[in-house]
């Protein structure tokens, strides 16, 4: 009984705390991580792996690195994803952009995006290889760069510098971290041709607010380090 009351009191403290400041409170952080780990294993590990290592075959991001697809990897960013998911059919889900399937007759839906030919896609891949300083065909990369920033509309999400945009979950294409596949030409072709739209469920109706914060703190703890805090 006493333990239950004590845990409830710590839970309340956890919930009232600024999520991005909890990591500095070792006791509270430890409490949350201890309770978040089994929740992660039960709810998240089926996609992200038992240790959060991710699975590029499923487009499940590695949660142990510093590369955050949405937000800057702060606890509040992670908590938002756990709460409302990604393309999870929750009105508050992250759902601002999808990778269009450019080898289909109508890749852009109402945006009027035109399909690319196999040669166009090869050129865009050469451009991406060039951006990553990998072997590429220079003429193809030059053509691909034009497609990237014009009719391919890649710049619209991934940015003119291909650096991605964490505000909409558009991956950085310059860092050699690949959400899908191994970064080979075939894997990139697959992404451009068939599109991508990974999902993460919204847990707000399944987990309690305390459980959500605990799992967010656990995921935060998995990261081996992080970039500087988000812009304020």
């Amino acid at each position: 009984m006493a333990l239950f009351v004590r845990d409830k009191a710590v839970e309340a403290r956890l919930l009232r705390a600024d999520p991005d400041a909890i990591a500095a409170d070792a006791g509270l952080n430890r409490f949350a991580i201890r309770r978040g780990a089994p929740i992660f294993r039960a709810r998240c590990a089926s996609c992200h792996g038992d240790h959060g290592e991710g699975d590029p075959n499923r487009g499940a991001p590695d949660l142990t690195d510093q590369d955050w697809l949405y937000g800057a990897g702060e606890v509040s960013d992670i908590e938002r994803v756990v709460d409302y998911g990604i393309r999870a059919h929750n009105p508050k889900s992250w759902n601002l952009a999808v990778m269009p399937a450019l080898a289909t007759p109508n890749p852009g839906g109402e945006k009027g995006l035109q399909p690319l030919s196999p040669g166009d896609i090869d050129d865009v891949i050469d451009f991406l290889m060039q951006v990553e300083n990998r072997p590429h065909d220079a003429a193809g990369a030059a053509r691909g760069g034009v497609i990237y920033s014009t009719r391919g509309a890649c710049y619209d999400c991934h940015g003119a510098d291909a650096g991605g945009d964490a505000a909409i979950g558009a991956p950085n294409l310059t860092d050699r971290i690949w959400l899908y596949g191994d970064g080979s030409r075939a894997a990139i072709f697959q992404s451009i041709a068939h599109g991508r739209q990974g999902v993460c469920p919204a847990w707000i109706k399944t987990l309690s607010p305390a459980q959500i914060r605990e799992v967010a703190l656990y995921v935060h703890s998995l990261s081996k380090g992080r970039a500087t805090a988000k812009g304020r």
Partner: protein, 299 residues
Amino acid sequence: MAFQSSITASEWRDIQKVSPQRSLVLMALGAVVGLGVAGYALFTAKGTSTLVVPPEDVALVNQQPISRSDFLIQLQTLFGVDLAHSTVAERQKVLNDMIREELFVQRGKELDVAGIDPDVRTAMVNAVEQEIAADAMTTQPSDDKLRAFYQAHQDRYASEGTITVRDLVFPKDRATEAANALKAGAPADAVLARFDGHDSRRTKDKEFYFAAKIHLGDRDFAIARALPNGGVSAPLRESDGSHLLYVLNNKPPVPMDFAQARQQVLTDYRDNAISRLRSGDEAFFRKRANILIAQDLKR
């Protein structure tokens, strides 16, 4: 009480002997625990009226919670700051906005806005549909289920075929000779020059099947698709001359194995589940509803 004095510590601990005092204490303890549990459940159950704001919320508006996580998101959205870097004025502004919104939503329910405003009705229908879909998203299907789905719909999972085809136009009386020259391996440009032909330019380099189909039309695409690399069609008579479809490269769609198709299979599986859930829910809504239809519209 008289018996109290005669009770020793050993009698209290010996569960083989009846101890009225022990029974009373345990009964009292049970009652206290029971009351505690009941009280906790009573005051923490959803919908219970309370004067205390739960730790996960920042406010209660007529007992309707405004969640702390929504508050933080709103703070970030409106001012681009997290809690630690926000000012009192910023926090107050966000809180007031959220309370105002909640009050207006509650008033909207009192006024039955959904009964009169088509936008609200549409939003409500969409929201309920999304809600149903969200339930399907939280279930992660096993690989066995996905494999079964893949096997049942294997024809959906293939790469898009590609084709490089030239549409060459010749005078009607020279097309057969041109076709023979192409079949004999003469370069297309040389054949065009020799037999007064021209390239219609309906197709461009290597194309996906769907694009070639759009550019060539259904009939000509079906002919081209059936030709091997280096294949030449029979002359196709059109008003501008006889067309020869000359296929330089034809790569038909290749079926994807389960690993390659897994992501698409998962998407399709979920779409299918969402569709079934929506139909099921609609059937349930209809079943439990009391729907009366005017006489003149009854079939």
